[in-house]
Symmetry: C2
Subunit: 231 residues, 2 copies
């Protein structure tokens, strides 16, 4: 078997994530309904998040700070205290949100773990990602967990090498073309895109359909069959 | 040489950290001077931080959120917008703060890296710790960087093992008895305490002076000589 090591994204590949951010954003729209149209608010929030990304990175705490900053901008620096209180509460609820594997994930990983070393590769807040993995009950199926600040080709090369795989022996699966697919392919590994119904605007990118090491899969159930085709 | 691998804490061992938090806390006292006595404010902030620690973990973003929450509590939920704006600005400044190695650190690490595998072992925000290491210019001296959500005996055992060292071949050095010394000793490694003038209340603990694998050092300059005494 050529492939020895399978990297798996976590958020929106193994469990819901973007949905929880969107629900919080909906709540924020409601909170700010007297102050800003939803589309104005969404644009402003996206701009604040983009501006803060290099400093805050990915995750709930940075998102919570960006919500507060957006509320400040939209109220000329004088938001109602209830808005701040509700944003803080929403952030805490996101961090404490129950984690449930997406349909099919547990069975698929149990099968895949028989044949491959599974490595969880995820961005986000270190503590929160560890907590989500623990809460998911999937931790035992993984050989290793790699929480990283950015997913680029060098990140994948380093992780696969650390786990004893040449790029050609490794595959990555995830919902983000930008973070899970393109840089893994660039590192020389195989990559399978498993879409999630929602994608954060920052993660949008076009699927590299011409690449022979790339596959577009409907669900995680198709991953084992695809890996076997690699040889 | 018995010791092959030397773990080093980062914040307040290699560069200032607590000082920057204290300066922000001083600024927060000034901001809230009309609202709360400094000692009341400090107590309230400490309580909020303690309550949030399990959810936020360590680092600037969680601290910033705790400052906002403290301001909310001390103003019956209606803080002045300028207070929130200033807390957000302070958090960003902490994240963008220049990093300069503490006196003697660069020379000591350059020497130690000749004889030992140096592994940076630190808590905090993943992205921010990576950025601080890059900004410090010390990155090249380390064999590996391990950013962890909690420093307990299992963490040290796992990290030393990953880098090929039995506990008895590993030593840890840092400024926190609670995080750097006691759990490393518990894991069976050697440990050297290098105090920093300030210690966060949460990190306070008594030095294990009776332990033969423990040393209290005045500065990082003394680390190489102590490691040689281990044999």
């Amino acid at each position: 078997m050529r492939i020895t090591t399978l990297g798996l994204d976590a958020d929106d590949t193994l469990w819901h994530n973007e949905t929880i951010f969107r629900l919080t954003q909906d709540r924020f729209r409601g909170l700010m309904a007297d102050v800003a149209d939803p589309s104005v608010l969404d644009d402003r929030l996206a701009a604040v998040e983009r501006r803060n990304l290099a400093l805050y990175g990915y995750g709930v705490k940075g998102f919570t700070l960006s919500l507060i900053e957006t509320a400040m901008e939209l109220t000329a620096g004088q938001p109602d205290g209830r808005v701040i209180a509700d944003i803080l509460a929403a952030g805490r609820e996101m961090l404490a949100h129950p984690v449930e594997p997406l349909p099919g994930v547990e069975a698929a990983l149990a099968e895949l773990s028989q044949d491959y070393r599974l490595v969880l590769i995820t961005k986000g807040d270190l503590l929160h990602q560890e907590q989500k993995l623990a809460a998911s009950g999937l931790g035992e199926l993984f050989t290793a967990v790699e929480i990283v600040s950015e997913k680029d080709a060098a990140t994948y090369a380093r992780i696969f090498s650390r786990h004893g795989a040449e790029p050609g022996q490794a595959a990555m699966a995830g919902n983000s073309v930008r973070s899970d697919i393109l840089p893994a392919l660039e590192a020389g590994a195989y990559a399978a895109h498993i879409p999630y119904p929602l994608t954060w605007a920052h993660e949008m990118a076009e699927a590299p359909c011409g690449n022979p090491r790339f596959a577009e899969l409907a669900t995680i159930d198709d991953l084992a069959a695809w890996l076997r085709t690699i040889g």
